[in-house]
């Protein structure tokens, strides 16, 4: 080891900042897709570091399904104020009201898939040409094959068989007028890297990542929080459990884990000993083996 040594986390940070700057320099109107989850919070943190002391030179877009955890929305609004960022909220409800998106039926209707519609509508309205996402390649098999600069046509479609080769760290930002890019600066991070980085940098997170008591129902092996959007069947009942969340999605499909991890250190130990992937609790991914791939082809991030 020589004296010019950079730890893997610092290398990942440097890579992400390089990608964020490369995007801003090459496109006209980028936007950061901000879900309010830990990965997008880390993304906002990296964007802040990349351009300090200037403000983040692009808005944050939250595609709001209306099924969010209230704690996540509260956190989002506070954070945006604190870092003086520009937040745009796209409401899935608006797309439903307009008739461009149609609500699923059944005992736990998910609005996950509908996000793609609202997202593309926001793209049409604001004419963004690049969208940053906090997706990581370790999350899911289809994501493992997606480029960092992922080229999308005017419909937002991902064509896995026809991706541009990505060499060294030379990111090709050229495109036709109506096309855009999805850019994934933390592609090479793992769940553990994200948690370690959050601790290293002292990044604040919504409270529901930490253990708390909540009313939940066990459905298809997923612990769902009590909320107004799901209907219980006759043999289901809510019960109080000590839980936390590993990922933040809609209340209708994001599963909690039984956990008493109340600090970042506890969570890191829990992640280290976890035997299920973090998306293992996502009912939306369980629908079929190729669920994510299909959604991505439709324009999902």
């Amino acid at each position: 080891m020589n004296s010019y040594y950079l730890s893997h986390l610092k290398q990942l940070e440097a890579e992400a900042i390089h990608i964020i700057r490369e995007t801003v320099a090459q496109v006209d109107k980028p936007v950061l897709l901000f879900s309010g989850g830990k990965d997008s919070i880390v993304m906002a943190h990296l964007a802040r570091k990349a351009f300090y002391p200037a403000r983040i030179p692009f808005p944050l877009l939250h595609v709001d399904t209306g099924h969010n955890f209230p704690e996540a929305i509260e956190f989002r609004d506070n954070m945006v104020k604190e870092i003086n960022a520009n937040l745009i909220v796209g409401l899935v409800q608006d797309s439903i009201d307009k008739g461009t998106a149609i609500e699923e039926k059944g005992p736990n209707p998910s609005r996950n898939r509908l996000q793609s519609v609202t997202l593309m509508e926001a793209f049409d309205e604001y004419k963004w040409d690049a969208a940053f996402g906090g997706a990581r390649r370790d999350e899911e098999k289809a994501r493992a094959k997606e480029r960092i600069f992922s080229h999308r046509d005017e419909f937002g479609t991902w064509d896995p068989k026809n991706q541009r080769p990505e060499l060294w760290s030379l990111y090709n930002g050229k495109k036709d007028t109506d096309d855009h890019f999805r850019v994934f600066p933390i592609s090479n991070w793992t769940e553990m890297d994200v948690w370690q980085y959050i601790k290293l940098e002292g990044i604040e997170l919504p409270s529901i990542y930490f253990s708390h008591e909540r009313e939940v129902v066990l459905r298809d092996n997923v612990l769902l929080a009590k909320n107004d959007f799901i209907t219980l069947s006759e043999d289901e009942a809510y019960e109080k459990r000590i839980i936390r969340y590993r990922t933040l999605g809609d209340m209708t499909c994001t599963g909690a884990v039984a956990s008493d991890a109340s600090t970042l250190d506890d969570i890191i130990q829990e992640v280290a000993s976890a035997r299920v992937t973090e998306r293992g609790g996502r009912a939306d991914d369980k629908r079929s083996e190729a669920a994510m791939e299909e959604r991505k082809k439709e324009g999902y991030f």
Binding site: Y4, Y5, H18, E22, A25, K161, L167, V276
Partner: protein, 425 residues
Amino acid sequence: MSNTIDNQAYLNMDLLRFTTAGSVDDGKSTLIGRLLYDSKSIFEDQMEALEKSSKQKGQDDVDLSLLTDGLKAEREQGITIDVAYRYFATPKRKFIIADTPGHIQYTRNMVTGASTANLAIILIDARHGVIEQTMRHSFIASLLQIKHIVVCVNKMDLVDYSQEAFEKIKEEYKKFSSRLDVPDIRFIPISALKGDNVVDKSEKMDWYEGSTLLYTLENVKIGNDLNFMDARFPVQYVIRPQIDEFRDFRGYAGRVEGGVFKAGDEVTILPSGFSSKIKTVELNGEAIEEAYPPMSVTMTLEDDIDVSRGDMIVKPNNQPESIQDVDIKICWLSNSPLKVGGKYALKHTTKDVRSSVKEILYKVDINTLHKIEDDKEVKLNDIARIRVRTNAPLFADSYSKNRQTGSVILIDEHTHETVAAGMIM
């Protein structure tokens, strides 16, 4: 990975990027599956999904290769389409695997995977020995200046773990590897299927005294693979806050691609040739004592001079070449052939220029490394040496001196596709 984690150790962990190459059915996916499985990087739900898919396909054992085949089309056809990236960590290092398929578009994919790798694993089927693809993969690793090759002789279980078989393949490989420009080549006899010498030492091959594959990956020294000598800072973006508190702030954002920069250093800006001194090296408002590859930082200068994206900050006594006639070795990545006289957009560090192809000097037979002088049509997956003329100078080093300031991509101006990967000679 053990079930508890030492935080401090995790923060000090090193990063190794490697690429895996092999031909069809030599067990590459199984090897990766094995590394992930034995290092406990496979989770229960992934394992359950694997068991389910294996059963559906009528296989008795869990098929570890299914773990790496990500797309629906691949699972249906049992093939791998594209470069996939995998991650695992041991208490010593974090690993990024660029998993490249061995068959279709092999060169294109392998070049892509190899461009960011510190190390290449070359797989050889113990029953078949060195084949054309083994040589091709090794040449590509050498061409991309990968400094470490680990040759894994796989499926040792199918040749009765025979030392003789292993030694024979080693000799065969050494016969042609003298032509490679790779300083560190090692050989390991393994069985990815049974797990011999992958993570755990094989009990069936006590004649092998070397280390296991995982131990090798954890301990190979990569600290000197970057260039810490020749200071290069391509400017990515100029930060101008436009807020009262930082009204006069002009920060140059970029990644250090070579050498070391610190406050007080005399610097020269290219192409203007103006000199100045570094006032601060910082990130997020925090001073950085020394900036070196591959750090992303923001620099400010003592003098108010015009610096923009595509410029390069260097040291006065150590400057890259400023060239407009560029001699490059390329790998052609597009279905439409290279056109002599054709115009292509060229990207080099943070600089975008236009280029025109002046001449195809020769093609390279990737199976033998011999020059081909009579056929000059450069098609998909071809390697060739060409000369281009750019409309503005590049501040370039040779690829062998610096992978970042020595590499370019060519982009079709109409389709915007990346059509070539180029290494400056």
